[in-house]
């Protein structure tokens, strides 16, 4: 059929989406998120560091001389109370080891410290020291120690609480002289495995937990240069923008998609549409494109406002005029596409409620299991980078980032095609899919 008619259908579908209550809620939520988390928080330019200032904040940098003793001390404490802090999927968890694993942990400590088992046992004999749990309060912290973060209202549970320096009640111990840093990290990984992953000794947390050091002027300078030169200011801010909006895009599009897909049945218009000659692929793709393009509007608008605000603070600097637009396209659009497609396919296959529940679960896990920044999994739906800095980390994972975004884009297209197939099957009266939580659905017409 003619392309003109596809366009006409697409326009009608856009209108349906625009007028839907779920879209209005979506747009309001995106604007509110943008306003409270980005617009209000970005309220001035970053200060250029000058030599001779009293301090430039802290930075997590891998310094074996600092990391090894701190991590060892913490491990001894946790071993002694047999209570290990971990964040397996982002939430605080206290792990107690069974006797067998506890023995393995003892072996690790013995190897690190060069102590014998007997010497270690003496540690255990000491009276239980009340562990100060205040630094374990999860769900609170956003920024990592010392590094200036634009905001600390974040979703991620932070694992950065440092144990205090020397604790007087801990008997003396030394790190074995023959212990190399590589071996030490290996042992830490083994300890993390015993705890079940996500502990402070994991690769993910160990540096930020035990190796925070004061930033030097050079480091602060370099960061600032990266912000202003390599990222051309707006690039940095655009990433921060995507960090916040991405959280919303991980879940909200599913509601808009579900309500559009349910509209025909709610309006008892299914049979009228089924009996027209437009192909299922045409109907589904027109709806999908309408959903994605209409839902992209609030993104483009807020990105434009964000770009203008940032540029206002850095007048006279060389800036990337299209940084926000670029990030919106390559960072935000794939998320929007994937979540919309998931909403459509599950609604068509099972029901809208199942789509909401499943997407909700995925959102929850993806959001709380990821770090605030510096981790980009190949398959994580929500990519976070809650910092104006740390460009290096992002760039070192840029391959993952691109893979991730391409993957979700392709997944989205694939799922939409699948939706069209399911739609066509239902249209021809074949009952495929599962029916949960569905009321009033007529599987068998009373004829």
């Amino acid at each position: 059929m003619k392309g003109g008619s596809f366009f006409a259908l697409y326009i009608r579908e856009c209108k349906k989406v625009l007028c839907s209550l779920t879209f209005l809620l979506y747009a309001a939520a995106v604007f509110a998120m943008f306003y409270t988390q980005f617009y209000l928080e970005v309220n001035g330019p970053e200060i250029e560091p000058k030599p001779g200032e009293s301090g430039y904040g802290m930075v997590a940098r891998e310094v074996p001389e600092i990391l090894m003793p701190r991590a060892t001390e913490n491990l001894l404490w946790e071993y002694r109370s047999n209570s290990y802090v971990a964040y397996p999927i982002g939430f605080y968890k206290e792990v107690r080891l069974k006797e067998k694993d506890r023995q393995k942990m003892a072996d690790i400590i013995c190897e690190i410290t060069g102590m014998t088992q007997e010497e270690l046992n003496r540690f255990e004999g000491k009276e239980e020291n009340d562990l100060d749990k205040s630094d374990k309060t999860s769900f609170e912290v956003g920024g990592e120690n010392g590094i200036r973060e634009i905001d600390n209202n974040s979703f991620v549970v932070d694992g950065t609480g440092n144990m205090g320096d020397e604790d007087p009640s801990l008997p003396e111990y030394h790190i074995s002289e023959s212990m190399t840093y590589e071996r030490f990290r290996e042992l830490m990984r083994a300890a993390d495995d015993l705890i079940g992953g996500g502990s402070r000794y994991s690769d993910k947390y160990i540096v930020t937990n035990f190796s925070n050091v004061p930033k030097t002027y050079e480091e602060a300078r370099k960061e600032y240069e990266q912000l202003t030169k390599e990222d051309k200011v707006t690039g940095s801010y655009a990433r921060l923008y995507c960090d916040y909006i991405g959280v919303m895009l991980g879940i909200l599009p599913v509601f808009v998609a579900v309500s559009l897909m349910q509209l025909d049945r709610k309006a008892r218009m299914e049979a009228l549409i089924y009996s027209r000659c437009a192909s299922s692929a045409r109907i589904i793709f027109a709806r999908y494109m309408a959903l994605v393009s209409v839902m992209f509007l609030p993104i483009i608008i807020t990105a434009g406002i964000g770009q203008a605000r940032v540029m206002g603070f850095y007048q006279g600097m060389d800036m990337d005029l299209f940084a926000f637009a670029k990030e919106a396209l390559i960072w935000m659009l794939p998320s929007l596409m994937a979540v919309t497609a998931i909403g459509m396919v599950i609604t068509e296959f099972a029901s809208g409620l199942v789509a909401i529940l499943l997407q909700g679960a995925w959102w929850f896990v993806s959001l709380f299991s990821g770090g605030l920044s510096g981790e980009i999994g190949k398959f994580s739906l929500i990519i976070r980078h809650n910092s104006l800095y740390k460009r290096d980390i992002l760039m070192s994972l840029y391959g993952n980032f691109l893979f991730n975004r391409v993957f979700f884009t392709l997944l989205a297209v694939l799922l939409v095609m699948l939706t069209a197939v399911i739609y066509e099957e239902k249209r021809r009266g074949r009952n495929i899919g599962i029916r949960f939580f569905v009321k009033n659905r007529k599987n068998q017409p009373a004829a």
Partner: protein, 321 residues
């Protein structure tokens, strides 16, 4: 009743029915079976439907909707063949292009206006802008909705909604129009208007009308089929049905107190209570052994009941539950 394909110039223009062969203005159904799970919904259906009005009569649950949905390519059959104007039913896209369907229970997006709804469905039928506007205007006039075209669908009355339904089904000028129980829930005036509209429409296409209301058939259809429990019990013309029932319908005046007994022994199709006496209309193969029984001229309702009766259908409280 043969009409050349050339008459459907409008469809040709839309490129929807390009593959329709000339002179094949009929629907052929042979040996069709359909199951829902283990339950057999259609059993060995054989029918040929010509241009004009075709009535499908049967009680609720007889399989009418299933058959109609199958004809509209909205249901799969398990065996048998169906061709609509020469197109095998398996070619769903082509079938959808030449078929207009008005389901029993339908509505449209409540927030759209009458105009917008028609436009939307027109787009889904692949019609271009000018043709849509032209047909919309013409059909709205025909179904008497022109002055309501800016009304929201949610503000329409039941009858108006039905008329809008017919307009949408005719929008792409289909060769076949399938309407499922279109008069259910309409007031008598609306019902008559609706029937007349259907008759007009049937002058130029095949119209299949299903109903459990015998009056609809009587007023509109020449050819009919009677369905029961997924079978076709009878097919032919209305006059054929009437002549089958000739001499099998009787009237009798009885005292009220015998009414219960008569109802038990015979199939009663009508009653008129007058003081102590009741005039009863009943069906029987033989002359009833009651005093004063007279042979009556059968109407379609009687004939329909007789058909069910002759085929051994349970006729507890009459055909219309």
């Amino acid at each position: 009743m043969e009409v050349e394909a050339g008459k459907y110039a409008g469809i040709k223009k839309e490129g929807v029915a390009g593959k329709v062969g000339a002179g094949q203005n009929q629907i052929r159904i042979s040996g069709v079976n359909k199951y829902y799970g283990r339950k057999q919904a259609l059993t060995d259906i054989n029918l040929t439907i010509q241009q004009g009005m075709f009535g499908l009569l049967g009680r609720n649950g007889a399989g009418k909707t299933t058959l109609m949905k199958t004809l509209a390519a909205l249901h799969k059959k398990q065996s048998g063949t169906i061709s609509v104007c020469g197109i095998p039913i398996e070619q769903a896209k082509e079938i959808r292009g030449i078929t207009g369907y008005l389901p029993q229970d339908f509505s449209m997006y409540p927030s759209m206006t009458v105009e917008e709804s028609l436009d939307y469905l027109g787009i889904l039928s692949g019609m271009d802008g000018n043709l849509r506007r032209e047909r919309e205007e013409m059909l709205l006039k025909r179904v008497n909705l022109t002055e309501h075209k800016t009304k929201k669908v949610r503000a329409l009355s039941g009858g108006m909604k039905r008329r809008l339904g017919i307009a949408q089904a005719l929008l792409h000028n289909p060769k076949v129009l399938i309407v499922d129980e279109p008069t259910a829930g309409l007031d008598p005036e609306e019902r008559i208007r609706f029937r007349n509209l259907l008759c007009e429409v049937a002058e130029e296409r095949i119209v299949i009308l299903s109903t459990h209301i015998v009056g609809d058939i009587e007023a509109t259809c020449e050819d009919i089929a009677i369905m029961n429990e997924g079978h076709i019990l009878w097919q032919g013309t209305v006059s054929g049905l009437l002549s089958d029932a000739k001499g099998k319908v009787f009237t009798i005046n009885i005292n009220k107190k015998f009414l219960a007994q008569v109802k038990k022994d015979y199939i009663v199709t009508g009653m008129l209570v007058q003081n102590e006496f009741t005039t009863v209309r009943l069906i029987s193969d033989k002359m009833p052994t009651l005093n004063g029984a007279e042979v009556a001229e059968p109407n379609v309702e009687d004939a329909y009941m007789y058909c069910l009766y002759r085929n051994g259908c349970e006729l507890g409280g009459g055909a219309e539950e």
